[in-house]
Symmetry: none
Subunit: 409 residues, 2 copies
Amino acid sequence: MRAEIITVGSEIILGSILNTNAQYLTRRLGEIGIEVLYHTSLRDNKEQLKHVIENGLKRVDLLIFTGGLGPTADDFTKEVVSETLGLRLYLDNNIKNSIKSYFDKTNKTMTSNNIKQAYIPEGSKPIKNDIGTAPGIFIEWQDKILVLLPGPPREMKLMFNKYVIPLIKQDYIIREATIKTIGIGESYLETILKDIINSRGNPSIATYASEGVVDIKVVAKGNNEEEVDLLLKETIEKIRNKIPENIYSYNNETIEEVVFKLLKEKNFKIAFAESCTGGLIASKFTKIPGVSEVFDRGIVTYSNVSKIEELNVRKSTIKKHGAVSKKVAMEMAKGLLEKSNVDIALSITGLAGPSTGSENKPVGLIFIGIATKEKLITIESRLSGDRESIQNKASLKAFNELRKFLINM
Amino acid sequence: MRAEIITVGSEIILGSILNTNAQYLTRRLGEIGIEVLYHTSLRDNKEQLKHVIENGLKRVDLLIFTGGLGPTADDFTKEVVSETLGLRLYLDNNIKNSIKSYFDKTNKTMTSNNIKQAYIPEGSKPIKNDIGTAPGIFIEWQDKILVLLPGPPREMKLMFNKYVIPLIKQDYIIREATIKTIGIGESYLETILKDIINSRGNPSIATYASEGVVDIKVVAKGNNEEEVDLLLKETIEKIRNKIPENIYSYNNETIEEVVFKLLKEKNFKIAFAESCTGGLIASKFTKIPGVSEVFDRGIVTYSNVSKIEELNVRKSTIKKHGAVSKKVAMEMAKGLLEKSNVDIALSITGLAGPSTGSENKPVGLIFIGIATKEKLITIESRLSGDRESIQNKASLKAFNELRKFLINM
């Protein structure tokens, strides 16, 4: 099956935002064996949209639209698709009720233009939107498939993975596995993986780098489950043997989720003391539902006086070694452990920039401390990038050090 | 002039990289008054490229290509464009010599396929590449313009700004302004803006919603700067009069940056006490460079015991009213103000979900407390969405309440 991804909306075409939807959908489609031939982006313009639809119907089998399903007057993807295919729109009472109950639940007033979202083309299937009001639409028309998805990436992704993939899956079997790695560069990783990639390209192996971490995606194709599972298993085993230290998950978990699971296994409570990351570590950790089982508290000691008052860091230590130092990281972790009565305490101090670095303490220098009743360790690291990038890499590094510490306990 | 940006190459269409070239070119073209109607991305495939060129010639006046000008066999943008337009390629000796001298200068060996880059279509202008080997191509064909640029963003940007803009500049002026709003839904906003939007189409007004906030983009066109600036000013004034309370920035700032500026103006220090947002407020705030001028500390009191120990919340208050209550939010803010000696303290407690809601305390219920030496207020709110969305909206709400509090002081 050959696909085109059509992004409707001015945010993309005016350059306000990057087209991450097209990238995401292309990857996911590739993983289930559907080749994407074109990306097309256009404005909220009915005539142009009609032209793009007609074009797409001529050149591909599957058209996936994102955007233009909202309640406002310049949302009309559904209307123009229906018109172009010659399908009548009718009011679906189930959708109307579910939109109404969404508004009731959130104590907002439903305006009349929200009703627009409850109309769907005849012969189409509405696709549930678990976290928003705009339903998606699945249309089989002649020998073509058209899928209409909402524009907001979170809604689009959830809907696509949960409801659309089962509808467009091919008849051979595809299984994928994601191996998540940290602390290893993408180009070095590619060199390592070269031997593993076989000449047939099955399984296919691709790497996707994002700040600080690289995902390895292995996709195996075959005629039955045993064949595919064996292929995947063998390949994962080969990769594991090459980089055992750098893999933190085989189950698509974030590194903070891995830490959460390790803490739960050990029945440990944790607390964080953050300086340069400014609450990012606590914030990432508390995105995990149920984290209160293991997370007690976090202290963002941004000023020097707060480090002293909150964590019992000695004034003299800051004076002698500076706030960004191994010693201060140690005292932060120790002070936090003592005051909060948790099983394990993590501290971090560093220079996120952009200014205030010096020759022997450059921007990107960080110190991490980990304390338990039995042990106190510190890790020094130098990170690169702008302020936000350093904060993000520092938080990943902190979780990775925690992961290694907990595994080796 | 109406334009289409055509991105040729597998990196984009396989999802390996984001299409930053299309975004960059769209913004730059918009700034000089050229409207981009379409982005199209496709693989290195001759037949598909030809199809895309023919399509583009039918629907726009200016086609800008990036990618496919390199020396390898799957670089053929120039060849396919020439073939489609019926133009012969000829060897340009100047280009050949400049490629040769580039190789001499960089001590690299020139391979025979680099000569391919010295061929240009008859009647076209080569465009100089100051930092690479592939020249760009400028073609005027019938009433259309086709511009071929290299794919690497650094080469593309330099070439576009230095050599292409002078060739395609329009004689009218375009200016845009962004008005950032919070606490008002997109569809309700559209109803309010209806009179202003319907007036003439110039300036154009568009709304872009992302979780919790809506941006209003105003774009004005005219013959000279005074005319355009006046149009923008008048429109912004009209919008301001309709929703004075909801606008937090005219300068593309985030709401936390606005709060940062207000605190700096008042020479105030701030501290945060977070429960349901788990450090997100502190984390967003500390993404701002130089925030240490106003930010003292943050306390993430996730467990009940930490609320008692860190913020002096009374055990009896939690027992009587629950951790998610107006009373606890008040005591958190008050306790934080007293212990940290800041000028203003913000607290937040709520239910981010996904579970543990009840009938009178549903998921999404939050309480915000703001304390100064003179004043202590609380705000109750009900938010919708999944855990992450509630946390995000809660943090925006907290910054907005701070903004309003500081403005009305």
